[in-house]
């Protein structure tokens, strides 16, 4: 390595020192120049070595999927296993303790199937009436009470169950804002406040409804035409709402004042969306299920909704093998970071972990 001792060492041998004064002066100048040139070369080499080391380190981190790089993690989850048994599953949610996984099936018996962490079916939920009169779509669990909310497309209502799976009642939006709502996506904030996407009527009436303690919404999000078949949604700790504005092909980010703070748009570039359906937030990451891309896209979020989420990567490809999706739809993440994704046409729920 280059150091000061090396640079002060004699460069020429003693025989060259017997020349005349002019020659000596000239020789001294040449020696100084040579020393400078050598010094520059050594600096260049050192810089190149340092650069190569940095590049090698970056490549190693990228390939190994290791811990976070300064600023942002590039790590993506890997496929772990699948839960089978639900027919054309659409929605999924996890109880606060992570021990009950709720899965809605849009085919078959139109049940909500409940699994334990090992994938064993432990219960089924259904409202009164036959299978032909219900079509469960999305499911969410109140983090405060443990109550389970299931949107029913055919019933145009939400069916409410307690934490043990007992049917309690219909949750029917009321009042000037809620009457006639056709619930689809469901999400809770950490205080147990319910957010619901409403697809009643035509496009101009699609919106997000926010509830307090009762069945009458306390406010709505979205001016006429703002959303087009909004599906899944998620709420962060600041009260920002991430909505899969599905038919518009975008992920809309709404601040607590109901204003559009940002979005991820439809397109074909990395991180662009096609048909977003399921949405989940966990830690500093946003997950969006892109149904027609057969993948889950992962973004970094900073907590400041004015900053567009940074695309990290995606997991899952189209297919029927383990880790491949055929029209994935819903997503839920438990407290340990286990990711559940409904894989509709493969009739299973996939589990991905870090």
């Amino acid at each position: 390595m280059t150091n000061t001792d090396d640079l002060s060492s004699p460069v020429f041998d003693s025989a060259s020192q017997g020349a005349g004064a002019a020659k000596a002066a000239s020789g001294a100048a040449v020696t100084a120049e040579a020393l400078k040139a050598r010094k520059r070369r050594r600096r260049k080499v050192a810089l190149l070595v340092l650069l190569a080391a940095i590049i090698a380190y970056l490549i190693y981190r990228l390939l190994s999927g290791g811990d976070s790089l300064p600023g942002i993690s590039s790590q993506l989850p890997h496929y772990e296993t699948s839960i089978y048994g639900a027919t054309q599953p659409l929605g999924v949610a996890v109880s606060p303790d992570g021990d009950r996984i709720y899965v809605t099936e849009s085919g078959g018996s139109h049940l909500v199937r409940v699994y334990d962490r090992s994938g064993n079916e432990i219960d089924t939920l259904k409202p009164p009436g036959g299978a032909s009169a219900r079509l469960p779509v999305y499911v969410a669990v109140n983090p405060v009470t443990g109550d389970v909310f299931v949107s029913d497309r055919l019933g145009e209502t939400v069916n409410l169950y307690d934490e043990d799976g007992r049917y309690r009642r219909r949750f029917t939006p009321r009042g000037p804002l809620g009457k006639g709502a056709n619930p689809l996506g469901l999400a809770f904030d950490s205080d147990g406040k319910l957010y619901m996407t409403d697809v009643s009527g035509g496009r101009r009436s699609h919106r997000v409804l926010v509830f307090g303690n009762g069945e009458e919404p306390v406010r709505k999000i979205g001016s006429p035409g703002a959303f087009w078949f909004p599906n899944g949604l998620a709420v962060d700790s600041n009260g920002d709402v991430y909505v899969a504005d599905s038919n518009d092909g975008r992920l809309a980010i709404i601040d607590p004042n109901g204003r559009l703070a940002g979005s991820i748009q439809r397109g074909v570039a990395d991180g662009d969306l096609g048909l977003p359906r399921g949405v989940a937030l966990h830690s500093d990451r946003l997950y969006v299920v892109d149904t027609t891309a057969h993948t889950v896209k992962v973004y970094g979020v900073s907590g400041d909704v004015r900053k567009v989420p940074s695309y990290i990567g995606s997991f899952g490809v189209e297919g029927i093998e383990d880790g491949a999706f055929e029209f994935p739809n819903g997503i839920a993440i438990d407290g340990d970071g286990r990711i559940y994704v409904t894989d509709r046409e493969n009739n299973r729920v996939q589990i991905w972990t870090y």
């Binding site: 054309q88 659409l90 849009s106 085919g107 009436g129 036959g130 299978a131 032909s132 009169a133 219900r134 079509l135 469960p136 779509v137 497309r153 055919l154 145009e156 006639g180 056709n182 689809l184 697809v199 009643s200 009527g201 035509g202 496009r203 035409g225 087009w228 078949f229 599906n231 599905s246 038919n247 518009d248 092909g249 748009q265 439809r266 397109g267 074909v268 662009d272 096609g274 048909l275 359906r277 149904t291 027609t292 189209e318 055929e326 029209f327 739809n329 046409e345």
Partner: protein, 318 residues
């Protein structure tokens, strides 16, 4: 300078023409209408270089269609798999209803109750009521791209010819990009081999659901009832007939029930059949497993009929 201004004016006019050609709404499909075409609209269904299906589609056609129009209808108000219509532009709110065309997997036809009304005239007293919940389809125009026979396809034939084998997809009959036709029906269905098409002008209001399957006329689309039999006959060519008294000259479809009448309650295709799928039963001795055509293996199912067994006959021929 003046020439440059003129050029700019011309370019502005040309641009305004393009901006003004946003496609119309509703039956022309959300893929090209609604909020209008934006620069990324195409990419929702197509891929230029990495398509996985014909027509540069990113997925197989039906899987794409069912993603919005399938069970639970998470992207549309029409669930053609279950035969359910949800509240939307075409309805005045309220509860989900039965799709007029039935459904490919399930339907809401209360064919049993309809069978009990055979003593009633079909119009206006008779009705094919709607079920509260879905029942499995017993017959459908399978759109799973499986081989099936387009019964009666082709011209009159002196030798037995039942029709050619075809493979149907949603896009065989519907144009996803919209074409101004009723329900985006193709004037000439794909694989029909028809020489000319049938145009049914689009409705001004859209009524997708019914409370009575027998009421087939669409008051918002007066051309529908007048032209629908001719449209069906672009594939089922030899089923179209104006009389049952004369021989057609065809070895198979020799004498045929009249199917060309153009009014509610009269003899036309849609008066007895639904287009997507029916849940009617056809299990009685003379109807179940009946040979549809001489020499052809018995087919199970209800032949897209609106009423159990052959109740559609008795609705008129009491």
């Amino acid at each position: 300078m003046a020439q440059a201004r003129l050029t700019l004016l011309g370019l502005a006019c040309a641009a305004s023409l393009f901006l003004g050609t946003a496609a119309s709404r509703a039956d022309n499909g959300p893929h090209v209408a609604g909020a209008g075409i934006v620069t990324d609209t195409c990419a929702s269904c197509h891929r230029m270089h990495t398509a996985q299906a014909p027509k540069l589609l990113r997925e197989s056609q039906n899987a794409l269609c069912y993603t919005c129009h399938g069970s639970s209808a998470t992207g549309a108000n029409t669930d053609v798999e279950d035969g359910i219509g949800y509240s939307g532009e075409g309805r005045k709110g309220g509860k989900a209803g039965a799709l007029r065309g039935g459904g490919f997997e399930y339907a809401l036809i209360d064919s049993g109750a309809a069978s009990g009304q055979q003593s009633e005239p079909p119009n206006p007293g008779g009705s094919v009521p709607v079920l509260a919940g879905t029942a499995a389809a017993t017959s459908s125009h399978s759109v799973d791209f499986s081989e099936q026979t387009a019964w009666g396809n082709g011209p009159i034939s002196e030798t037995a010819n039942y029709g050619k084998s075809i493979q149907l997809r949603c896009g065989s009959c519907h144009d996803p990009h919209g074409n101004g036709n009723y329900r985006t029906l193709r004037a000439i269905p794909q694989e029909s081999g028809a020489g000319g098409g049938v145009t049914i002008l689009d409705a001004t209001k859209y009524v997708y659901t019914t409370e009575n399957y027998w009421q087939v006329e669409d008051a918002n689309a007066p051309g529908f009832i007048a032209n629908i039999s001719a449209w069906c006959a672009t594939c089922h060519t030899r089923y179209l007939s104006s009389t049952s008294f004369t021989d057609s000259g065809d070895a198979v479809f020799t004498k045929r029930h009249r199917t060309d009448q153009a009014s509610q309650g009269s003899a036309n295709c849609i008066q007895c059949h639904v287009s997507h799928g029916s849940n009617a039963n056809a299990e009685q001795t003379s109807s179940g497993g009946v040979h549809s055509l001489e020499g052809v293996p018995a087919a199970s199912g209800s032949y897209l009929l609106r009423i159990d067994n052959r109740g559609v006959c008795q609705m008129c021929h009491k």
